[in-house]
Symmetry: C2
Subunit: 178 residues, 2 copies
């Protein structure tokens, strides 16, 4: 049978999201494939992680392609829609957060978030977001809240349904009472 890289990446993402230090042996077993086959397709462990990162990047890119160009109208609505798309990607990105600190991963996050940063910058220019915080920080703080929500979901403390609304509410209006 021809084994697709896609299948290995699927299984690897799943296994690594649970155990970031899982052996290639266990990943191979979970994929119903020999360890050698994995090495044929991904010569080193890092190559596999890199492929996973590229895959995750691509998926994030697909979601962020949803952000509209031009003059933004309802920032909250757009952000909620984007967030709804990002929430399910947790298993695909978990290993990225747990992986040893690698500069290229940081730059990958930055690259993946670029369309979002552009949107945020545009919204800011139109006065729809505060101007006394940098676009970079507005973006980083959103991602930080996304990570926090992912963790809460993993721990079963937050449902995926409410998560998007919660994230965007916190990001836009904060913790102060109305």
């Amino acid at each position: 049978m021809v084994i697709k890289n896609e299948h290995i990446l699927d299984v690897a993402a799943l296994v690594l999201s649970k155990r970031p230090d899982a052996t290639l042996q266990s990943i191979a077993a979970a994929a119903g494939v020999s360890r050698t086959t994995i090495f044929n397709k991904f010569p080193t462990r890092d190559d596999l992680l890199e492929a996973l990162a590229a895959d995750a990047l691509q998926r994030i890119g697909s979601v962020l392609a949803l952000v509209p160009d031009g003059k933004p109208s309802d920032v909250a609505a757009v952000m909620i829609e984007v967030t709804r798309g990002l929430i399910p990607l947790e298993p695909r990105t978990a290993f990225l957060r747990a992986a040893p600190h690698r500069t290229d991963l940081d730059s990958m996050w930055a690259q993946a978030a670029t369309p979002l940063a552009i949107y945020i910058g545009t919204a800011q220019a139109y006065g729809l977001l505060r101007r006394d915080h940098s676009v970079r920080w507005l973006t980083a703080s959103y991602i930080g809240l996304l990570f926090a929500a992912w963790d809460e979901i993993l721990e079963g403390e937050l449902g995926t349904a409410q998560a998007a609304r919660l994230i965007v509410e916190s990001w836009m209006t904060g913790a102060s009472p109305k």
Copy 2:
């Protein structure tokens, strides 16, 4: 010379914050100590990480001891003060975030954050924080923003001086314009 555990933990925290997968050999070398000595004090790598986690927990606890009891008055002021205390702890906690997903680490974070959660709960009860978000989420979102700021600082995109204000502003009033 008598080697203090404290010294090893200091060096280990420093080395691991840069390379979470650093070998014990390299940590020993950085500490000017033999690998055997580290094993005498911390039988396994996990024991060392656990000690580091306990140390970080204790440091966080010291900072969070600053949060006042009783009726809160100026939440923003308290949060900024707490955040100013937490910002420098990044090198001590970086390895915790990079370490493979371990349940005990999650519970450690939760335990360390308890005083903060209590404070937030009290402030919420007094109407100083929004009531439509759970105390758990208000706490988690704050920590998420703290992590985001730590990352930005690491990348040289944020100064430690402004970080605390930025975090608390984002946490309390969000990204919306005033």
